[in-house]
């Protein structure tokens, strides 16, 4: 265990000392934050205001906008930051530092755990810091969250960081070069927000695309954190006598309610989907790191190539 701890320390130090890696992982959250504050916040505000009766309290609108921005931001950065911090695994192959560990008696599984845990820790530190900053922003604009909401949001960030780390770990196993590293980083940073419903709610998409995206576990992660980020505002709206139908239609429009081929997905099901995905991805990661399995896989490809 102490061997793994030392590896985790090494990997975390590498991440935070490599300014390029650290700052590149901060690019996505910073761009999103600037985008939301300067542009998207206004768009969301206008959308909410157009659908609400005149005289709606400004703080409620701000709470809704803030909750949506915050949840979208966190849904994306938990994944993009994980991909960036997990680049250590690829960088070790590029710089050949991995050779220095493979000549030691350390087990591959310990190496894999070292990478996974370090990536998770780095991602969680960055994401929880971003969460803190977002709380300050929401506090300044319209705070309705309870202590339970805050705790649930921290749990969601934890779960999404686990998901991001597991997903990036599996993807990064196949990367060998700096070019591949940059390509994957760019694709994930640019594309993930769209396919998880963070940049634009799924409710805005056509039915076919919406149903397709419901097969991706990231969608459920976004919905989970959005529910908790906006729960306080909806409670306040209920308390002040807003009709349930209107509240439900807002929940539908911002993906607090998501539908799998027309059937509403309960919150616990969303949790289950993300949790199961995390376990499946970790299992796959362990399997791919197994020397015997990798060898069999390689042989299979060799045979296939020969046949071709």
């Amino acid at each position: 265990m102490s061997v793994t701890c030392e590896l985790i320390k090494r990997n975390c130090k590498l991440y935070f000392k490599d300014k390029g890696m650290f700052f590149s992982s901060m690019i996505t959250p910073v761009i999103l934050l600037v985008l939301y504050i300067t542009f998207l916040a206004k768009v969301y505000r206008d959308i909410f205001m157009s659908g609400m009766p005149s005289g709606t309290e400004e703080k409620i609108i701000n709470g809704l906008v803030g909750g949506q921005l915050f949840s979208s931001l966190m849904a994306v950065i938990c994944i993009t930051v994980a991909f960036c911090s997990n680049l250590i695994t690829v960088q070790d192959k590029v710089t050949e530092s991995i050779k220095d560990f493979l000549i030691t008696p350390i087990k591959r599984s310990a190496l894999a755990i070292g990478y996974y845990a370090a990536t998770f820790i780095c991602t969680f530190i960055v994401c929880i810091s971003a969460t803190g900053l977002c709380f300050i922003y929401i506090g300044a604009t319209g705070w309705y969250m309870s202590a339970v909401d805050v705790l649930l949001i921290i749990t969601d960030v934890f779960l999404l960081c686990m998901f991001g780390t597991a997903l990036s770990s599996v993807v990064n196993i196949f990367l060998r070069t700096q070019g591949q590293m940059s390509a994957v980083g760019t694709i994930v940073s640019a594309g993930y927000g769209f396919i998880c419903g963070a940049y634009m709610p799924l409710s805005q998409f056509g039915e076919g695309l919406r149903n397709t995206l419901m097969f991706l576990p990231g969608t459920y992660g976004t919905s989970v954190i959005r529910n908790h980020a906006m729960a306080g505002v909806f409670r306040e709206m209920e308390k002040t006598g807003w009709p349930t139908e209107i509240i439900e239609s807002i929940r539908d429009s911002v993906d607090c309610n998501i539908y799998f081929f027309g059937d509403k997905v309960d919150l616990w099901v969303s949790y289950l989907v993300v949790t199961i995905t995390v376990f499946v991805l970790i299992g796959l990661y362990v399997l791919l790191n197994n020397k015997n399995f990798s060898a069999k896989l390689k042989n299979l490809f060799k045979k296939k190539n020969k046949v071709n």
């Binding site: 102490s2 030392e6 050949e96 560990f101 008696p105």
Partner: protein
């Protein structure tokens, strides 16, 4: 002396290319063993299989009597490797690097500090220990690499072209350290190199070409077998050199005459004493051996 490394009928191919082809050799405990060959001869591939980094296609590798087959990773404790290019983490300090590598062998706390101070005595690490590896000069980085290879007290030190690209002063420093280690720790050294003069100092040399052993033996055995002696003649006319009836070449200071062996040289001296007023006899160099064995010349790591 027992065999500390034994390799039997080792094969490794990359597609159609046979990188290592039916390789068999052994290294005795405490020996300074050199692998000589041009790029692509199969030296580094053999080392990679020895270290367990690369799967072998066929054959057997034994380290200290235990077969290296991917199942008994504990045998890796016996090996310390200095790679051709430094593989330490450049943003981290030498200390952090050594600590993380030592931990991979289960060495930590006081044991690590003890090992580190022992290595520090030989390599004088104090001036670089707290500096990031990326900020070190080539020579300092090499010292750090050797320290990393020795941090777990291995029985065998593998040096994969350790002096390529280093200046002569750093090269000399490295060899002084390694010589001291051999004397004090009785460590076995397995070297792959392009440099003939480094191989000439070895106890045993294997010359590899296209994945196969072309020749092997002690440097003196190889020189005797594959290269004749040379007589350097000074202050003599070319007409007199021709009288010797041997192949010769003009040098900047005289003539270099090729003879079969020292006995022939002695016979010539006795027969023509008037020609040999200023001369020297020397054995052939490893360059000559390499050329005779492979038909290739090695110049600073390049094939000619």
């Amino acid at each position: 002396m027992k065999d500390i490394i034994r390799i039997e009928k080792l094969h490794k191919s990359f597609g159609e290319i046979k990188a290592v082809n039916d390789l068999t050799f052994s290294v005795k405990e405490g020996e300074f063993f050199a692998f000589l060959g041009v790029n692509g001869a199969g030296k580094s591939t053999t080392i990679s299989m020895l270290c367990g980094q690369l799967e072998k296609d066929e054959g057997k590798i034994y380290i200290d009597g235990t077969e290296v087959d991917g199942k008994n990773d504990e045998i890796k404790r016996e090996l310390g490797v200095v790679f051709q290019n430094s593989v330490m983490d450049k943003p981290l300090t030498v200390y952090d690097n050594l600590k993380s590598r030592a931990a991979a062998y289960g060495i930590k706390g006081k044991e690590f500090e003890k090992n580190l101070s022992e290595i520090d005595e030989k390599l004088h690490l104090q001036e670089i220990i707290k500096r990031p590896v990326g900020k070190l000069s080539g020579g300092q980085r090499r010292r750090a690499d050797v320290a990393r290879a020795l941090i777990h007290n291995p029985k065998i030190l593998i040096l994969d072209e350790p002096t390529t690209g280093l200046d002569p002063q750093t090269r000399r420093m490295l060899w002084e350290v390694i010589s001291e280690l051999r004397v004090k720790r009785k460590i076995t050294v397995l070297l792959t190199t392009h440099y003939m003069e480094e191989a000439a100092d070895a106890d045993y040399v294997v010359i590899m070409d296209s994945g196969k052993i072309s020749a092997e033996g002690t440097p003196i055995e190889l020189k005797n077998k594959y290269s004749g002696d040379f007589i350097n003649l000074y202050n003599v006319d070319e007409e007199k050199v021709k009288i010797l009836g041997k192949k010769y070449e003009k040098t900047s200071v005289g003539y270099k005459v090729e003879v079969e062996d020292t006995k022939t040289a002695t016979e010539l001296i006795l027969k023509y004493p008037e020609i040999f007023s200023d001369y020297e006899i020397r054995k052939g160099k490893m360059d000559d051996v390499f050329l005779a064995v492979t038909g290739k010349k090695l110049i600073e790591g390049e094939k000619r």
